[in-house]
């Protein structure tokens, strides 16, 4: 049974209008937040969201009927469909975090983390990594940071179709709740960020891997300890403090048989590290740009063995 007192987040896939998704939250019959994501008249959509925020669902619904814009529908019409679907249970609440399941089995993966808006670093890394016979590249957050190149960086990631995982700063940008000392970001870039996943799931030979940023995911509304990969994240973040407290590794070993993943990647602590515990590989990715050069990680599967190496590019 769902707990109606808690805020529930929904993601509605639209049809016939510019924004491909509408995100909204409901709590006890009140509309908490609305976001038309990925296109459309950004300013108007933001105004509509402000006007409807905090209003009862039944009151909101009466405004949304009979508005046409294109293709026999409109943003209000699609919002109407979305809210009615959520109300009568046809639209299930969204998971607290978004997982991208890489459909291709992989053998050599290039890993980049902590770009923090350095689009030049990403360009250079991609150029150098092109010679490494990789079959995939993943970017772990933070993708954005105190940089004026955040927009270029997100564009490049999109252009190259690189699976990218949101870090905490990225998630704040996506929701328009970034720290005051961070630069402004266009709404369309924020919309792209909010559609990036929080977790990537991938396969390497017989092994299953997952990549995430860090502990902000545990604080997302609706996070459940029993969602896919939540156990791995709870153990890495909460139990071992990102593998920094080896004294608790005996407890980690006791929990590992319940893991879904064999390879666990994370990037919150901005430090490179590889731990092999009870048959599982835990890998911490450091930042892309460091004083000694640009760094990336090579993850390789060979006859059931996982190898990881930090690659440094001298500049």
């Amino acid at each position: 049974m769902t707990d109606k007192k808690k805020s529930q987040r929904f993601v509605f896939q639209t049809r016939g209008i510019c924004p491909p998704e509408i995100h909204f939250q409901l709590r006890q019959g009140l509309l908490e937040d609305i976001r038309f994501v990925g296109g459309g008249c950004t300013g108007n959509a933001q105004l509509v969201a402000r006007l409807l925020k905090g209003r009862p669902l039944e009151e909101v619904l009466q405004y949304l009927d009979g508005i046409d814009c294109r293709n026999g529908t409109s943003c209000p019409h699609q919002l109407n469909l979305a809210l009615r679907a959520a109300e009568d249970g046809r639209l299930a609440p969204a998971d607290s975090f978004r997982i991208y399941y890489d459909p291709q089995p992989r053998h050599r993966i290039g890993l980049i983390a902590g770009l923090e808006g350095d689009s030049q670093a990403l360009e250079t890394l991609l150029e150098k990594m092109a010679d490494a016979a990789l079959d995939a590249i993943y970017c772990l957050g933070n993708l954005t940071g105190k940089s004026l190149q955040n927009k270029q960086l997100v564009r490049l990631i999109r252009k190259q179709e690189i699976p990218a995982i949101l870090g905490e700063t990225d998630w704040q940008f996506a929701r328009g709740k970034e720290a005051e000392d961070l630069p402004l970001l266009d709404q369309n870039v924020r919309d792209w960020l909010i559609r990036f996943p929080h977790v990537v799931s991938f396969g390497m030979e017989t092994k299953k891997g997952m990549a995430f940023f860090g502990d902000y995911i545990q604080k997302l509304p609706g996070y459940s300890d029993f969602e896919p990969f939540a156990l791995e994240m709870n153990m890495v973040c909460g139990l071992t403090n990102f593998m920094q407290e080896q004294a608790v590794f005996p407890a980690l070993e006791a929990m590992i048989p319940q893991f879904e993943a064999d390879i666990i990647l994370f990037s919150q602590i901005n430090r490179w590290g590889h731990w092999h515990v009870a048959g599982k590989d835990f890998i911490s990715l450091g930042p892309a740009a460091e004083p000694e050069g640009l760094s990336w990680g090579l993850l390789e599967a060979d006859s059931g063995e996982i190898r990881f190496e930090r690659m440094v590019i001298d500049l």
């Binding site: 300890d225 153990m235 005996p250 407890a251």
Partner: protein, 76 residues
Amino acid sequence: MAESVKVLPEEIQDIINVHEWDMRTREGVQRFRELKAKSLPSVALDGELVWESLIPMQEELIAEIRQRFEEKNQGV
């Protein structure tokens, strides 16, 4: 662990409250860290870590509970 507690004699059951923490949850992990435990299973009595990596024999568990109960109730 809960199973070994469930089979304790009734007079022991009457003087204890049992809480089992699920280590899969953030709440369980937090309690594990508060107790400064290192391995599983761990057993704490009155908030103090007493056994780690093992489930005590029933006699041992009963003796420890009785001793603590008597210490707490001296002069009562």
